[in-house]
Amino acid sequence: MKSSIIIVIFFALGIFLGYFIDESIIFVSDDLSTYALHFLLFLIGISIGCDLKVFRIIKKLHVKILFVPLAVIVGTLLGVAAVSVLFEDITLNECLAIGSGFGYYSLSSIYITKISGEVLGVIALLSNIIREIITLVASPVLVKYFGKLAPIASGGATSMDTTLPIITRYSGKEFAVISVFSGTVLTIIVPFMVTMFL
């Protein structure tokens, strides 16, 4: 819990500085977060490599591992369909399309903006960013109440990169391989599913 609070503080600090600091004074390149991400993935690789148990698990799991991305798809669509009745200006199909971003906000919001316009595109962008942020912040809580697959499910397509460090931290490195697998499958199907619903 303490580490989640620290993470939120750093995120808030980032927004604050990003909003107020003139970019002519301090220039923070978007590439920097890409490099930080790659560094993290490298670190995760190290923790996987020095513990060979992970590879025994992926052998043992074989077909079972397919149920993870499948659960994410079914659960996400059921969830957004259930709340679609709350919105007067967003249709069921639009809700399903936003949900099908699975946290992959850059790609899904571009598709949705192109097909359905900017308002829906912004909602898709925010919704999928929030999905990633909630995963980063709430993973310990998710593990506690819904088991160790829950942060992977919550992370959706991001469970292969941005949320992988936090998932590994709270679900254990045994779940890192499952996380990468699920995130990879979801990342690949995002463009197909988003356009299918619109």
Partner: protein, 95 residues
């Protein structure tokens, strides 16, 4: 996506080579945590400097929040069923 796989594979190889160096591996969790902090700070920074996101934050944010919470709860519940059925036997290694 290729870069992701390359980073993971290179890391794994290094991890395999240095798997006996317990001193270094002890600090790995700490380094990982600081990297997460840096990443989140940078994510916040790019949200903060984007006027489109900031301006629409309160209007569309609520709808977006409802959708994300629903998506997370839905997938967490279905994944809980899958976890109970197939993954319960994977034990986390306690330190």
């Amino acid at each position: 996506m290729n870069t992701v796989l390359i980073c993971l594979i290179l890391g794994s190889l290094l991890g395999y080579i240095i798997r006996e160096k317990k001193n270094f591996l002890k600090h790995l969790d700490k380094i990982t945590f600081f990297s997460v902090l840096a990443l989140l700070f940078l994510l916040g920074f790019s949200v903060g400097k984007d006027p489109v996101i900031i301006r629409n934050l309160h209007n569309l944010g609520l709808q977006a929040l409802i959708l994300s919470v629903a998506a997370i709860l839905g997938s967490a519940i279905v994944s809980f069923i899958v976890y109970k059925l197939f993954f319960k036997d994977i034990k986390a290694d306690e330190k």
